[in-house]
Amino acid sequence: MSALLSASNLTRRFPGNRGLLDMLARKPRPVVHALSDVSIDVSAGETLGIVGESGCGKSTLARCLVRLIEPDEGNISFDGADVGSLEGPARRKFNRAVQMVFQDPYASLNPRMTVGSTLAEALRVHEIVPAAEINARVASLLDLVQLPATAATRYPHEFSGGQRQRIGIARALAVEPRVIIADEPVSALDVSVQAQIVNLFMELQERLGLALVFITHDLRLVRHMTHRVAVMYLGRVVEIGPVEDIFTAPRHPYTRALISAVPQLTPGLLRGEPAVRGELPSPLSPPSGCAFHPRCPIALPQCAAERPALDARGGTWPVACLRADEA
């Protein structure tokens, strides 16, 4: 499979804020290292899962992929063309072909527009259907995400959190994209509605060869619906490979910790030991060497000194750990 959308060596920093005292002391402005040297790709008909701790840069990566923000370094190509150099009609074509479902539906919907007008606008801008068919298409989009046709006349605040999330999905689907970057698209849904939406994504993938980048913290779902998964830690990919292989034999100690922390259905209070312990990482001052070393149960002195590169290390998929595969 050749990649439909691929990103290579993306890096993105954000300036942080200083308190007044730091300003007076002329301390340098802190920098958030949100994304460092990240490369991923996704092919038609494929789902790439992205997992990792809160704040590790998943949404920043997503925003770079749809060009909502520009990376400081690195580039993105779509269908073989460099996305950064697209202009005019080619750029519009990209904007339609690569859609994003936002993590925060509340902030991404226009509160003054009915849901019907929001969807109709997307259909009109990209000339998806003739004007006369717009209403019917809006109704069928709502139906796809399990909302009644009457939802079209209502405003975003009149919905529940999970209903708003589905409106965001309907808007992304409206323009018949080839790639969807979905940032926690089902996090507010009960398991049954979640199952319907996940099945919908999988059906669209089968029928239309949709490529899907699926950001989620729900590891059960990752295992269920993605083909490959990238595990991120503090702005970097630390392991990337076939999902079943990674769940069966995780190579990075962080991946192992993540997988062991999945809540089980067997009732009982939280298990004895927290999954990951030790000093909290901060993208404002990433640890030296391997960023995971302060919390790693098997770290060596070397791990604090040198950052392990992401490569095969004698296995079949890349991992960034000097002690890969050691428990």
Binding site: G16, N17, R18, G52, E53, S54, G55, S59, Q103, D104, Y106, A107, Q146, L147, P148, T150, R154, H157, E158, S160, G161, G162, Q163, R166, E184, S187, A188, D190, V191, S192, V193, Q194, A195, Q196, N199, M202, H217, D218, L219, R220, R223, H224, M225, A257, L258, A261, V262, P263, Q264, L265, P267, G268, L269, L270, P274, A275, E279, L280, P281, L284
Partner: protein, 326 residues
């Protein structure tokens, strides 16, 4: 283990109804909800998307829009909250009752640094001086797992990641050490390791301060691991309540049984998940019988005509005619 049902210490909700008046007619969002949460208890609230969980929580905190008609009874420490004036409610909300909202961006002030938003709550509900407030704000960020606290306190909500915003809101809700925490999907944006840390924090506050916790979540694993009891909602009503272990092992309502079957991980990878067939219920025209009947695999004619009564047993209660056939 059943917590004591002392009306004068915890939260007791009875016959709670919320109707939204809209230009297209009334929406019956919450339709007769009963709930109890005792001090030191964690009560889980689960149910279908749109079933009225958030609206119920907002009704308890008296935070609904003007187009909402709220009836029934919400007693907190023996006091009827629904009959209080807005002014009388102010010192209770935030100080005694903390709220974590489902959507952080809707709850946070976009033009105020996170640190000041935490401090606002401390100014309103405690007697701390500025130095104490700043120390407390730093401590709270640390407790919710946000590193480089001093820099983070000076940042605005849009400079936080989704999960960091959610945790900032948790910090604000916990700032004044409330005795009752209404937590609406507090860990949806969090990965498992940070979720674990937040749940541990909430359980510790429950144990150490006797905080009562009403936890809305769609994550049945979280319910299993943290909630002593659980209530399941469908179409504005509670279908069943009981000790979590019992409800999950042996559901007494057809909707609960169907919900448990839809969990991912029960079938093989890449297989289709098994959602509950049929359409979500209409809230503009509630059914005279059980709202779940049209989608139910064990329904009988009675289910569509007559609302099943709540049957109370030792530690559980449920409203399902089909229970014996589950």
């Amino acid at each position: 283990m059943m917590a004591s049902r002392d009306d004068s210490t915890g939260l007791t909700v009875r016959e709670l109804r919320v109707v939204f008046d809209t230009s297209r007619g009334p929406i019956f969002a919450v339709d007769g909800v009963a709930l109890d949460v005792a001090p030191g208890e964690v009560m889980g609230l689960v149910g279908e998307s749109g079933s009225g969980k958030s609206v119920s929580l907002r009704a308890v905190a008296r935070l609904l829009h003007a187009n909402a008609r709220v009836t029934g009874s919400v007693r907190w420490r023996g006091q009827e909250l629904l009959s209080l004036s807005d002014d009388q409610m102010l010192p209770i909300r935030g100080a005694q009752i903390g709220i974590i909202f489902q959507e952080p961006m809707a709850a946070l002030n976009p033009v105020l640094p996170i640190g000041l938003q935490i401090e606002e709550s401390l100014i309103a509900h405690t007697t701390m001086d500025k130095a104490q407030r700043q120390a407390r704000a730093l401590q709270l960020l640390d407790q919710v797992g946000i590193a480089s606290g001093a820099t983070r306190l000076a940042q605005f909500p849009h400079e936080f990641s989704g999960g960091m915003r959610q945790r900032a809101m948790i910090a604000i809700a916990l700032a004044a050490s409330p005795a009752l925490l209404l937590a609406d999907e507090p860990t949806t944006a969090l990965d498992v390791t940070i979720q674990d840390q937040i749940l541990r924090l909430l359980l510790r506050l429950k144990d150490e301060l006797g905080m009562a916790l009403l936890l809305v979540t769609h994550d049945l694993g979280v319910v299993a691991e943290t909630c002593t009891r659980v209530a399941v909602m469908y179409a504005g009503r509670v279908c069943e309540t009981g000790p979590t272990a019992d409800v999950f092992a042996n559901p007494h309502h057809a909707y609960t049984a169907a919900l448990l079957r839809a969990m991912p991980g029960s079938g093989p990878a890449q297989a289709k998940l098994i959602p509950i067939p049929g359409m979500a219920p209409r809230l503009d025209a509630p059914s005279p019988g059980c709202a779940f009947a049209p989608r139910c695999t064990v329904s009988e004619p009675l289910c569509t005509t007559t609302r099943p009564p709540f049957v109370q047993e030792a530690t559980r209660s449920s409203a399902c005619y089909g229970r014996a056939r589950l």
